[in-house]
Amino acid sequence: MNELKTENLSCKRGENIVLNNINFSIKSGETLVVKGRNGSGKTTLLRILSSFITSYEGKVLFNDVGISEDNLYNSKFNLIGQKNSLKENLSIKKNLELWDILFNEALDHTKLLEHNNLYHLFNKDVSSLSDGQKKCISLHRLNYNKYDLWFLDEPFVFLDEVNTNLLIEKINQFNENMGTVILTSNINLPKKFHKEINI
């Protein structure tokens, strides 16, 4: 049973206060939706949680241990940022091969891509795809399955209805397997998740 929580988390950028007194706690099998307007610090929050930003006030605790003290914390989450992490001039196949090496895990891509109806584009260059298709492939990283936590930054942007539902299904499945999800969104989602905070 894992628990991720923040206590009085604040973050300053120069003089600007980006995050002010964020408190939440989330357990295994739950999903937290972080809502807020553009530029309200949603991405900053995710980057603090994924230990990229280390200069903040307050505490971020994973199982009651500060995330900067936990040496294994970095191997426990899977962060999908707003950037697609795709090499534009390479084909999907080659991009996925590169990911396989980075994530140290060989997936059966053909099957998974058929699920999203993308397999026929397998050998196409990424630059020829639409934004939604790129996002789908970017979210393909969620299939690497050694992680307890998912941090998703605006995962529903560019996705059509079918793919949105597929992603929600995937998140539900992950929750059933006792995974924790934190996702950001600035629009209303079609489904209600366990918890929601506004920043």
């Binding site: 950028r13 120069g14 003089e15 600007n16």
Partner: protein
């Protein structure tokens, strides 16, 4: 980049500005009078050595300004006081101008003295590299859109450049056999007449006043630029 500087300090700098400008102009006029009219020509180099009165101060201040720049960058990293960053940024461009001036006047002086515009010796080469270090510092700051980040990055670069300069001087010295004695040792030699020292010192003082005046103007400029950038975000 939040700077706690009292308003009355800024007011003080502001009110000192006209006096400083006046003093700079005054010093330059006196310096010009002495260096062009009131000093004898050198018995070997003739009147061409009058260029020394502007070349040597520029070279001194080019080096001194870079030392201050690198020093305040180091202090910024140690103390985390953003004032040092503002000092570094306000002084950098003045240093660049002095470096450029010492290069140009140096090569104009070199033509009648050595017969060539340029010699590839250690001092000239490291001066040229110094100029590019200033350029790198200034333009790297401009190229990075996140200004807080830009200050940190360009400060790191300034410190690396400070390590690089002596290495370059050493390596070019080693590489080149064309040695020129440094100007400072030339000064201490008895061959230099007191009548030449007077204009040199006045010009040095004038250049120093110019450095201070423009740095303080740029200090205000940098502070206000920070405020404008912050409110526009």
């Amino acid at each position: 980049m939040y700077i706690k500087i009292k308003n009355n300090h800024i007011e003080l700098i502001k009110s000192a500005n006209p006096y400083l400008i006046f003093a700079t102009i005054f010093a330059f006029v006196i310096g010009l009078y002495y260096s062009l009219f009131q000093s004898p020509p050198d018995y070997i180099q003739g009147d061409s050595m009058r260029i020394m009165y502007i070349h040597v101060p520029s070279a001194w201040f080019a080096l001194m300004t870079y030392s201050i720049l690198a020093g305040s960058c180091v202090l910024w990293f140690i103390t985390r006081n953003p004032l040092f960053n503002v000092v570094a940024r306000s002084i950098a461009q003045v240093g660049m101008i002095f470096t450029l001036m010492s290069l140009i006047t140096g090569s104009i002086w070199g033509k009648p003295t050595w017969g060539v515009w340029w010699v590839w010796d250690a001092r000239l080469t490291s001066m040229l590299i110094l100029f590019f270090l200033y350029i790198a510092y200034i333009f790297l700051w401009q190229a990075i859109s996140n200004k807080e980040l830009a200050s940190k990055i360009s400060a790191a670069l300034a410190i690396i450049g400070f390590i690089n300069i002596p290495i370059i001087k050493f390596s070019v010295d080693w590489w080149n056999t064309l040695h020129q004695p440094a100007s400072i040792s030339k000064l201490s030699a008895p061959s230099i007449d007191v009548s030449m020292l007077i204009p040199l010192f006045i010009m040095t003082a004038a250049c120093f006043l110019f450095l201070v005046t423009v740095s303080l103007i740029r200090f205000r400029l940098v502070l206000i630029e920070n405020k404008v950038l912050r409110t526009s975000n």
